[in-house]
Structure formats: C-alpha cells, structure tokens
Symmetry: none
Subunit: 204 residues, 4 copies
Amino acid sequence: MKRTDKRTRLLAAAEALLARKRMHEITLDEVVKAAHTGKGTVYLHFKDKEDLFQQVPEACCEKLFCALDAVAKGRQPFAAKLDAAWDTLLAFHERRRTLFSVIESQQEYSSHLKCDMRRRINASQGRIWEGVTRILGQGAAARMVRADIPPEVLARYMNSLARMFARHFAAHRGRAEQKAFLKRFFAAGAFETNHTRLHSRRTE
Amino acid sequence: MKRTDKRTRLLAAAEALLARKRMHEITLDEVVKAAHTGKGTVYLHFKDKEDLFQQVPEACCEKLFCALDAVAKGRQPFAAKLDAAWDTLLAFHERRRTLFSVIESQQEYSSHLKCDMRRRINASQGRIWEGVTRILGQGAAARMVRADIPPEVLARYMNSLARMFARHFAAHRGRAEQKAFLKRFFAAGAFETNHTRLHSRRTE
Amino acid sequence: MKRTDKRTRLLAAAEALLARKRMHEITLDEVVKAAHTGKGTVYLHFKDKEDLFQQVPEACCEKLFCALDAVAKGRQPFAAKLDAAWDTLLAFHERRRTLFSVIESQQEYSSHLKCDMRRRINASQGRIWEGVTRILGQGAAARMVRADIPPEVLARYMNSLARMFARHFAAHRGRAEQKAFLKRFFAAGAFETNHTRLHSRRTE
Amino acid sequence: MKRTDKRTRLLAAAEALLARKRMHEITLDEVVKAAHTGKGTVYLHFKDKEDLFQQVPEACCEKLFCALDAVAKGRQPFAAKLDAAWDTLLAFHERRRTLFSVIESQQEYSSHLKCDMRRRINASQGRIWEGVTRILGQGAAARMVRADIPPEVLARYMNSLARMFARHFAAHRGRAEQKAFLKRFFAAGAFETNHTRLHSRRTE
DNA sequence: TATGAATGAGGCTTCATTCAT
DNA sequence: GATGAATGAAGCCTCATTCAT
C-alpha cells in the first residue's frame, strides 16, 4: 500500500507539473520534490523518467474514460448526455493543457517501442475516444447522430475541438458564448438531417 | 545574400527536423549538419537555440498564409476555394506534424516574454487563422457560411480538425474517404441552413 | 562529513592547480580529476566554476591568518616573532605563486558583486593583513616598530615584499642571501630609530 | 606607416582594456572594435592573441624605462630624482592595475616558450627595473643609498611597493599621507646610515 | 524499501582563427 | 593590405541514473 502510495504521488506530481511545462522541461528533481519522495524511489516504480511520464496519460485517460462511461450509462436523453460529454471533455483539456503533447509524442515514438509497450499505449489512448464513441454510438442508434460518418471518427473530431477550445477560448471573457458556438457547430456537423440521411443511404 | 542564405538553411533544417522530433529532442549538431553550416553560424543569426526554433513557425505560418491568401484572391466559386483551403491546410499539417507543438509552447510561454517578442509571436500566429478567415468571410458574405458563428472562430475549428486529421487519418489506408468525412462534417457544421439562419436572426 | 570531504578536496585541488596556472587556464576537468570527484559534484558545493575559485583564497587566507596568529600568541621576543612571520609569509607566497591574482581579481570585481558577497570577500582578505598587523602591533607597543606608520600599513608593505620575493628570488641560488637582504631592508624601514621617533612626535 | 598605425592602435586598445579586465576576459572582438580595425588585421601584425598581449607590456615597459631614464639623466640632486621616480612608478601602476598580471603570467610561462621569445620577454621586463636601478645606483655612488643591498634588488622592492600602493591606497582619501608613509618607509629601508655602513663593511 | 550524494555523458555556447572577397 | 562571415574545438553546466547507506 505504501508502494502504491508513492507511485500514485509520483504520477500525480508529474501530471500536475505537466499543466505548466512540457515533459522535457520538467526535471526529476521537481517531480520528486512535489511528490515528497526520494529520487531513487522513481526507479523502484518506473523503469526511467520516460516510463513515468508515459504512464501519466494512461492514468488520466482512464479517469476520463470512466467519467464519460458513467455519462453513457446514465438514463438521460441523448442531448443531455452529449452536453455532459462536452463539459467533461472541456474540463479535461482545460485542466491539462500540455498533457496531449505527451500523448502525441507517444504516438510519434510508439513505432520505436517494443511491441507490448506499443499495445499498452494504444489501448490507453483508445480509452480517450472510447467514452465519447459510446455516447455518440447511442445517438446514432437513436437516429440522432448522422450515420454516414462512424461514431469513432466523430469522437475524434469532438476531442480535437475540445482541445482547441481549451487552448484558445477557455481563458476568454466570452467563454460561455464560445462554448455555445462550439456545441452548435458540432451539432450541425454531427446530427442527422435529411441531407445526411441521403448520404448514409448512398454509402450503404 | 549569403547571410540570408545560411539563415534560411538553418530555419529549413530546423523545420525539417521538427517533422520527426520535438525541439527538445533535436540537438544543434543535427541542425547544423542538416543545414551544412558550422555550429557557430547559428549564433550569428539567432540569439540561441530557443530563438532559432521560435522563428521556425514564424516563417512557416507566413508561407501558409500566403498559400491561403492566394486561394482567397482567386476567382473560383466559394466551394472550390474551401476545397483548396482544405488541401492546403492538410498538406501543411501532414508535413509538419510537430510544428504546432512549438507554436503551442510559444503560446504557453509568451507570457514570460518581453512585450515586443510577444507581439511578434502573436502576429505570426495570427497569420495561420487569417488566411482561412478570409476565405470563410467570403463564404459568409455570399450567404453560404453561417453568420451566427464568426468566421475567425470557424477558422480555428477548421484548423484544429486539419491538425487532428494529419495525426490520425493521414497515414491511413482510407485517407480519401476520411477526407470526405471531414469536409462533409465541416460543411454541415459551418454552412448556412434554414436552421442557422434562424440563429443568426436571433442573435442579431 | 563526506560532503565536507569532497568540498575540501575540490578546494585543495583548485588551490594546487593555482600554483601553476591562472584560473582561466584551468579547466574543470583538471580540477575534478585532481580531486578524484565527478564533474557534477562541483555543482553540489559551488554555484559554478567562478564560485569554486572565489572560495579558494578564503580558505587559504584563513590558514595563513591562523599560522600568523599562532606566532603572535607565542611568548618569544618580538624579533623572533617577526622572523617567524617572514618565514610563514614567504612559504605562503612561494607555494601559491598565482593565488594572489585570484585575490586581486576579486578586488577588481567585488564592485559588481552583491553586497554580502563583497563583505565576505573583504573579510577573508582582511585576514591576510590581520595576522601580520597583530605582530607588528606588538612590536609597536614594545617601541620596537616605528609608530609614525600604522602597523596595518606596514603589514601590507611586508606582504607585498614577500609576494615579490616569491616571484623573483625564491628559485634563485642565492635565496638565503636575498632573504637576509629583505629582512634587513624591512627592519631598517620599519624599526624605530631616533629619526622615526622624531617623526612620531611631530605627527602626534 | 599605415601598417604601423594599425599595429599601434591594436596595442593601445589592448592596453586600455587591460586597465579593466584580465587578458583572458578580453575577447579579440573587443580589441578590434576599440581599435577600429578588422579582426583579420590582428593576424597581419601578430602571430595570435597571445602574441598581441605579450607585446603590450613590452611597449609599456619601454615607455616606463624611458621616463625613468630621463629622470636618471637629469641634473637634479638624488633626493629629487627619487621623488620623481616614485611619481613615475605610482602613476604607471595606478594607470595599469592589471598589466602586471600579464607580465607575471609571461614569467610563469616563459619556461614553455622558445628560447628567443624568452630572451625577448626577459629583456623587456628587465627595462622595468633598469630605470629604477640606474637612479638608485647613482644614489649608491653618492653614498646616499645603502651599499649592502644591490641597487637592482632595491629597485624590485620599490616597484613591488609601488604596485601594492596602486592597489590598496591609490583610490583612498588619504592618498597623500599614504604616499608620504611609503616614501618614508622606503627611505628608511634603503638609505645609508651608520648601521648600514657597518653591514657593507662586513659583507665586503 | 527509501534515500540523495555522486556521477559523467551529452548539450549548448563561446571565441580564436581562417579565408574568400 | 584589410575585412568580417564562417567555422569548430573546447569548456561549462545540466540532469537522468546509480548505489552505498
């Protein structure tokens, strides 16, 4: 349990620091000071610095997935679920401005990594889209989300828009209005209309 | 002219390396080897490594703006211009997968910088959206793009989607189909419909 | 204690190297090799190379002061004390030919330094004269050293002569004779005579 | 003549910079900027940076010698000549606080140098003492300077005291009084008395 | 298990020197 | 002869990693 405790504290410290800096600008000294552990302790729980930071997104993505999955499992109508999904996603990205850089570099480098490591990373990243995909899948089943673009693709659109929002509009004064713009735009792009129905039929 | 030459070659070398690695993983040795210059030459044109990499986006964004502006100034109908804009944006992001990380970190750190430096960075980044904004503005003027979301906001949506596409779907086998999805999604989200017209009227 | 050990070894190594070269001609690599430590260790104990070399005189001057103070506290007659002081001073300068350059450059640059640093340097340098001053003060009290020039001024004369001697006459064949010249010269210059007594009376 | 001009300007610039910094802290860029020449010009007149700075004392010492020799050749009584020598020496050292470091390092390194270079350096440094030695020699001939210490040794004493004075008492408020102390001390140490006459006889 | 002093490979930067103009 | 842009060797410093305690 103590073991878990230190490990968790290290991951939390790393995640917190990622809010302000990129991984390569964070020193292990900073991490262990924030986590109140010794420097050697890192190497009891992680192979190296890289490994520690690799596992930060893993934990985060899992948390995000859980939050979205909870929404998906709820009994609210689809529109409410989508709203909740937006809020969850936006909060996630606003709180972790640079986390996605780590994820992106993992993607960049996954080709150099050993096979099982790659699988682990892909699995963890998949969780990000998976939660959103489930909700959008429900919407598609209810004929509310367009069927001519796969839900997992729409999920990525949604995530990328959320990330961009966190970067450009979150600290804005007009955040609420901007959020409305965003939802409206996505709804118009992703919802089923007569037009999209024609498309679906054609591609079927 | 030779001076410009070396400077350009260094920027080009740095840009090329940014396609594969992040700035902190690129050594000056790599840059100067790629640029076929001596290491000291860097310091004739840039204050330090940081400064060199700061100026890479500046040059790139300008190039992107020029390409998009050329489209905007063309005489094709709006639909063709938007298509061309997509192609330009996608090519830009596919060729410069990690460039945006540099831009993002500039945003992150611009608060620490001296005022004129910050202004320079913001100006250069503004160019990215500016080209797209012009085209979408023409669409809005032609009543083809929804008027209830400002074109400069839609421009950011478009850019973030393009960036995501470069990362997730570019290397895909089904790139063509994915590109069709993307355009269709954006069109649905951004084009004027009866529904958006109602919105515009309300917000007016 | 180990910490002190490394720090001491680094200072000793730097001091030893200063016997042969000036600070700017000594590389950190040489110092750490001589001290049998790693390069990084320097930065655990000193801010940078400058700081390491700044602290060398501090330690040396303290040692010199201790040696001279021991003489001053002894029960020998003044003449014997002065003899011992000469031997101590000459040994000091012969062993540390270039150390004084460091001290001089500290004086040169102390104006640029922060106030407490400057105070520390001045305090440490003061020790050099302080030991000699005490002995000469005793001589003055015993009416053997002229009273019309303050002992702390005579102390500086003595030190500068010792330094010059280390540079010009130490390696000489006729070192013994030269040493006799030096002592005789200083004695004639510093000792009380009828003539100096007149001076003192006049200036009183 | 143009050639001489540039060479002179470079030496003057180097000498001026030596008033504030040590050779190793002065860059060639600074020198050529101060001398208003190009960087390559240095290598037309000097073998390298070392050679340039080696020649600075050479020129300075020669100037000092000339000044002192002029005094020696004058018709004033010895006491006035010695006074003039003090003034010349003090002015020299006060104006060139760090020049002597260069000379000292030349001595330090002369052992590594080629034979003719060493001879040149020694010759140039000899000039420093030579001027003073001549004057003191005249004093000895006139039985005013003690004969039991060779004039060339006393010359070095005098020079070392002058150097120390420039460093410790020149900027002082009580400079005039300090100067009086210094002259009085040296006179007492160097002048012939009954006592020194006994010594001379014994050593003869 | 936990620590943090010690390490040294590797990176950035400086600056004396060269050489094409 | 005069120049200064270009060079790269050499040095300082950082920081991930180790290991004795």
